[in-house]
Symmetry: C3
Subunit: 313 residues, 3 copies
């Protein structure tokens, strides 16, 4: 376990689990300062001559686009490398793909994979001059999503999280987003972390340490400052973990009426893409407490900050 006061430069960004509070806060401050550039304005020279590879072993467009824009707006060259469409058909391993791209002069790798820990394994093979950002690996981690969520909370609730009640609602068990949020919220000292989900979608007890498990959505929402809704994958129904989307919505969907139980200034978050009418109603998704599109905007800034940090710029 890392020293919690550690502020050594990041080698890769694979998970938020062992990052110190100082490291997290430095990244968040840097991201906040990058907001104007994240929308396309200002200098573009920080990563001039550097090559960022989006190495995606699992399809994605939103996260990949966010990283691509972050890299382009810093002046980097960007290579999109979708592996399903590619030479791994010919059986080349992920490690050989990485080494080849390194040999071509790429040094920043944004990697998504459907297997948990696959990105960590790949990073273990990276050259000393390369850095790997986990853009989501199986159920394990999605650290830039965790960071952008924290940045969004800070913008609305300030830097001191100790008085905050934060509810995480939905399929925590299968969610890499929730895992990264839980790590970051703990490290940043969130006052109370509530986890609310049907029993079949709760993670193992060890992962729930230091959280309050709520058996009903209403309990999780009561006086909450921050409500983080998770996407319900349709696979959960097919796997028999959820009886039906309609029943899930009835028990765990966030409506305006239910949100009334939270604090009047509560913010509502969602990592997207949303299942409108399942885990969240339109009235909430598009309502005055929704900060969902701010999350998206913060994503570009956070990814810029991470790329700059890993590039040692």
């Amino acid at each position: 376990m890392a020293d919690p006061t550690d502020t050594a430069p990041l080698r890769h960004l694979l998970t938020l689990e062992h990052l110190s509070r100082a490291t997290l806060e430095t990244l968040l401050s840097r991201a906040a300062a990058l907001r104007p550039q994240a929308l396309g304005h200002g200098a573009r020279d920080a990563l001039r001559g550097r090559t960022v590879v989006n190495l995606f072993f699992e399809p994605s467009t939103r996260t990949r686009s966010s990283f691509q824009l972050a890299a382009l707006r810093l002046g980097a060259d960007v290579l999109n490398f979708e592996v399903a469409l590619s030479s791994t058909r010919k059986g080349e391993s992920a490690v050989d793909t990485l080494r080849n791209l390194e040999a071509m002069g790429a040094s920043l790798f944004v990697v998504r994979h459907s297997d948990s820990l696959a990105v960590t394994e790949l990073a273990a093979h990276a050259a000393a001059t390369s850095a790997v950002v986990n853009a989501g690996d199986g159920r394990n981690a999605h650290p830039t999503q965790g960071l952008l969520d924290m940045l969004t909370i800070r913008q609305h609730k300030g830097e001191d999280f100790s008085g905050l009640r934060v509810a995480i609602v939905g399929d925590v068990r299968h969610s890499r987003v929730a895992r990264s949020d839980l790590h970051a919220l703990r490290t940043l000292g969130a006052g109370e972390i509530r986890v609310a989900a049907p029993a079949a979608l709760l993670p193992d007890a060890a992962e729930l340490q230091g959280t309050r498990v709520c058996e009903r959505l209403e309990e999780a929402l009561e006086d909450a400052d921050v409500v983080m809704m998770l996407r319900l994958q349709r696979e959960r129904m097919e796997e028999g973990l959820v009886p039906s989307l309609a029943q899930y919505r009835q028990a765990w969907g966030l409506s305006a009426a239910r949100l009334a139980g939270a604090r009047p200034d509560a913010i509502v978050m969602h990592p997207g893409p949303m299942n409108r009418g399942v885990e969240i109603e339109d009235e909430v998704a598009d309502g005055p407490r929704s900060v969902i599109l701010e999350q998206v905007a913060n994503g570009v800034a956070v990814r810029m900050a991470v790329l700059l940090e890993l590039a040692r710029v």
Copy 2:
């Protein structure tokens, strides 16, 4: 219906239907002036820091490439977002996709969709700072194709269309290109617009207003100044609207012999991709009266002009 003398700046470009003659002519003049830049020469700063998204819900490479080059040569960042390969698998709506990309700082959206009016619906949800260009929606409209066709005619026939006989030949019924051409030709005051197609491929009577319907190709070509051939989709055969490609070619295919009926300086146009040996013979497609590749070159210039107009640059 818009005021025909209206010259207010364009908000989006969804159709040519209600654009004033002044607006059309301004766009065409601007495009003509951009021709050198359209081929890669000259300044590249007009859209520096702006992000253009090619948001394609229907596959395309030619139109997408044309817009991509137009944007790159103006210095913009370009994001290609092919939705069949993307997170709409996860069920995210087109509107949510648009909002997410806006939140990431994109402001110019080039949208293609297989459903008529889908692009118009999407534009209705765009942020005030965003602009949408219709890159083809179902059978409805393909306004930049209409503009590039008009630019090509102007280059060969001058700015006054009142003396021109223009023949549009082929599957007008299912053609968004023909619809946009018809709107523009009417607005620009073309002398005579002839529509020639087998009965099953003619549009509704309302759309034929102000045109001369020709039951035979020879009639449409007689003394024509401009001949616009349309692509015949193979689906029309499967749908029983056309007996066979061979019979279609015999009745409606443009050969050099038939073209001899047109004016000696007639130009031959085609939006591409061509079905050589069906609606057009090689001898015509590659012959001295063909301006088909000029259309393609003009496409980049027109798209630059449209992007600049919508970006308020």
Copy 3:
């Protein structure tokens, strides 16, 4: 057959077969000088305003990425045009696609095709202002791979190839890489070219002229200076040309024990992607004599040199 002292500027790069030694050596020297830029450093203006199209009729990611980085690092705009995903669905011919892209202002075309000579045929239709680089066509040629292999040999063995024993091992019959290597090695005057493969994977006798055919791997390796291993496509088994991967490995796979028969300073090459545990063992692929990743790095430099040469820059 071209004059072997010919140093006229290249029009296209389709094969190494008829290139003079002077032309090859000039390209190699230019590539060597471009190594720093190939990794992302230095000026980026040589191809500013030029458009390079990766026109791939056969999927690839490694070669395409290498060309893309070469072009980007020279300041060009790059368009990736994957034809399987594109409008050739609509039946447009390769020639029409080329002409359209030329009309849009593209002038450098990197073309891959699964049919032998398809790239040469396409180049025959290119405009006078366009140049075509063959990025691999069927079994015919892969000239930039041949060049990067020669550059890698030069870096380790010097510019005089006359004292070198070079072994090419594996499926020479179906390999465009081997063909381009054979042409280049002959032109550069390699001392002894050995070809080693099971009989079913040997090319026709005419292609073996001037080489020494070895019936056993050990014979090919004996005192070799350079060992070029080829990828074994799994199709060869399905076609009955190879009994099994296990038997192929036993007879033709390169292990450290076998490599001990070569000279102590022998280098081991592979065009990638490797079938580890088939034609090459991990201990060799990742061992001290492997220059496989240097080949990849040299690939970017060679492609820069070729693009500059063809662009007349």
